[in-house]
Amino acid sequence: MKRLIQKILPHPFLTLLLAVVWTILQNSVSAGMIVFGIILGIVIPFTTARWWPDRPDKMRLVPMLKYCLLVIWDILVANVQVAWIILTKSNAQMKPCWVVIPLELKSPEAITILAGTITLTPGTVSSDLSDEGHSLLVHALDSDDPDAVRDEIKDRYERRLLEIFQ
């Protein structure tokens, strides 16, 4: 039974996401469309399941939502900072630097989310992964102390992600 469900619903979150996307796409909420969205949410992951073979680690939904809100806030704030830097500092004053972040996260999904977060929050761009996937290379636009950046990222994001993807 579980197998069957697994086969039909390989990625429940994806199904949910698709149903939501469908509803947003319709630009109106109606029962019929939501049902239809769910149907699509089942059919599409089913047909593409071969390309997402492994089931990801369990993800905790509530901390994830919290994390999202945090990120959005950070994006807004940091954007202003970056804009300020760009508009006010001259090129010579800027101190771009590399930041290396040793990763405790193992799951690819988590690492990806972390990297994405780093990029979205201005001032930092996640640039590369080490060849075994144990560190993340981040470029900071203007920072005096790369270690501070590293610690902040580890503390602010990676820690939370570790909680979400236990």
């Binding site: 994806l14 996401l17 698709l18 996307v21 469908w22 796409l25 109606s30 029962a31 019929g32 469309m33 049902v35 239809f36 699509l40 599409i44 992951p45 047909t47 593409t48 071969r50 390309w51 997402w52 073979p53 990763l103 996260l105 193992k106 799951s107 690819p108 999904e109 690492i111 990806t112 990297a115 994405g116 996640s126 590369d128 992964l129 060849d131 075994e132 996937g133 144990h134």
Partner: protein, 953 residues
Amino acid sequence: MSLFLIVALPFLGALLPGLMNSAGRAACAGVTFMVTLATFVGLLTNLPTVLAGELVTVGIDWMPLLGLNVTLMLDGLGFFFACLILGIGLLIITYARFYLAREDNMGEFFTYLLLFQGAMVGIVLSDNILLLLVFWELTSLSSFLLIGYWKHLPEGRQGARMALTVTGMGGLAMIGGMMILGQIVGSYDLSVILQNRDLIQADPLYLPALILILLGCFTKSAQFPFHFWLPHAMAAPTPVSAYLHSATMVKAGIFLMARMWPVLSGTPEWFVIVTGAGLITMVLGAVIALFKHDLKALLAFSTVSHLGLITMLLGTGTAFGAMAAMFHILNHATFKAALFMSAGIIDHETHTRDIRRLGGLRHLMPITFGIATLAALSMAGIPLLNGFLSKEMMLEEATHTVLFNSPMLVPVLATIGSLFSAAYCFRLIGHTFLGPQRDDYPAKPHDPPVGLWGPPALLATLVVVIGVAPFLAEPFVKLVTASVLGGVVDVPDAHFKIWHGLTTALYMSIIAVGGGLLMLAIFNPALRVWDAAPRPEAKRIFDAIIAASVSLARKFIAPLHDGSFSRYAAIMAVTVLAVGYHAWTTGTVAPATRILQPANFVQIAGWFMLVAATVGMVFLHRDRLLSLILIGIVGLMVSVGFVVFSAPDLAMTQLTVEVVTIILLLLALNFLPNKTPIESSVTRRTIDGVIAVAVGVAAAGLSYHYMLRDTIIPSISEYHLANSYKGGGGTNVVNVILVDFRGFDTFGEIIVLGIAALLIYALTETLLSGPVRARLLNRKPDQPRAGNMHPMMMVVMTRVIMPVVLMVAFYIFWRGHNEPGGGFIAGLVASIAIVMQYMASGFGWTSARVRYPYHGVIGAGVLIAGLTGIGSWFFGKPFLTSDYTYVRIPPFEKFELATAALFDLGVFLAVVGAVMLSLESFSRLARRAHVDDPDHPMDIDPSRDDETTKAEA
């Protein structure tokens, strides 16, 4: 026998020798002989009618609208020539049976011979001048085959080609002449044309027609200056020479002059051209003949000379001349055929035809000697032989002919011609048969079997019989002459007699014979003079002309068609520009009916970016990646432009296509060099630039012109707007047009896409199974590749994005009928989603997990679209007729079900299949053999650490 059968028999019979080839040589020859005999007999059955002076005509329609009909007519002239053709043909067939060597293909030979014979009979029996032309050219073609029969001999091939070229040229000219005649008269029927002498001669086109027709006759009859092909045609086997040059091919021109005599002759133009050409030919041929050492060449030039004689007679335009000509045709046929066959016998027996190596054959080959001597003396104009009679008549006629106001010119030249004629005849006898017997013949000569000497002997008998008793031939010749004259003038009542009294002609004749003997006496010194004298060698001139035209043609064609695409394209651009400009300036420009709409800052900025990217493409195109990026901008800006100008569907299509195109070009660029070197000169670039700018200005101007003017009547699209919802059930009019109003276009379009994909696939297969494969395997990247083929972020994101994009694709498809979107765009979006997966996890991993072969998807798409179209047949509606209805299934809202959506589904599938198959094929090329398919979708995955350690442990 019906005339149809007479003409058709040789053609039908031509099939037999080929079929009988395996039955043996005798059977081949036998069947040919029987066919010819049957034809001959069939012809003779019409003799009584002809003798009664009646026309035998038959006809059926062939191309009545053109006036080309198969109408045949038999009168005295036709009968005479047909008799010659068939009669001599019978002798030739007999002779050839024994002449041809064992390794010669008998069947082939007789097939050609019968074809030729049929064509000749066709000429003389045609009542329709177009039909006559058909047979006329057929003789050229079949004689080409006959002359080139010995394919291994270069002389044979060249002679054949020369004959075909010259006579073919004449034939083509004659087509022109004949068609003018037909147009003047309003009919191509000979019987009608012959009635319209005055009409024709009064027409301004008479002279061109005359010249064109005479060109045909002269080339065929080897008149000066077209005489040169005939000697080279001697490379043919002797039976062919004998046939072609005594009785048939060359006589065709004479026949035609005789045939057209009633309408064409009698004018000064005719007289000057025909008589002049004839005289020159006669003298020239005779002179050259004397100095030829090859027996057949000698005979060939003598033929030329005699044809000139006949032509001259016809040219005089008098009835007596015509009669003399007809008589001489008969006589010439008899003695010349006999002589050719004798020459063939000599060649056959001694293995040489060179007079200088012969001599003294009279004791070794007495029979041949007898025949040849009789025939040659006849040719020389010795009394009691038939040649004398007609030559007398010719000289007689010559004394009455005044050319260029000079009464002496023609007689003197005629005498000179006769003199040389006599001389070469004597030389032929003297140097071949008389003199001491030699012991250095290439082969031991002796008389041949009766099969070879029988036919010429028969002819020699005729020579003597007519020569002694001309009155036997007289009624027949007069009958023939009557039909030549065609009632324009009466047949002269002069009788054929051996003795006319001491006339001027006789004196001339005596001078000729005497002079001929003298000439032979001083032959050796004369030969030295001749050899020393510079003279144009016709063959060399002809070859030079042909070689020059070929090389000229190559100089003209080769550089023009050297595969330079850039020049082709430039020429095309300039042509279109020039033609368009011409059309534009010859018309009148209407005043503008629309006002210019103002442009705002954004549009100007967009324009600026588009232009910057475009100009960038021109100046930076050598960096190929950069030009790809720039074209991305162009595409983006054009799409935004489409959005601005109210075309969201277009914008979406343009964008998606853009992305796919760029992916495709990047895949290709992987193999191509990344830079374009500078190769063209500055001049070249300037010229190209000027052309490009000119065309650009034209395009801009044209478009500006149209945009400021309204259509002549409001566009049909008003109907589409009005009926899109009513008739097509959709509010997105563009989509309704695509899948409904003009669904057929779309059907074609998805087929184009499908074909493109199939083609790409097929070519990939071909490349991968050919030599290219090895090269691909050994290929090195032209720059170091970065590590991490399948980055983790990309892979993970794709897992989420791809399903979403697929859903969006579905959404676009779903909504397409009413909102911007549709099967196309959905298909492209879906393909891009799949491409994302390919880019993320690589070709091997991804394609190993593809469920359906893309071929099948394309096929299914096209079939679904097509079947939707066919479905409407079952409702009695035409292909692609759409219908729609609204359905309500709880819990869903009411939604629309349209057949157009099914059609769109076909479009969707076809697009997905086509795009994917193309991209897949491209990337298959790039796969290097040593790369194994990875087991994992991403290269780096720390979560696999545990597995690795486990595996290591």
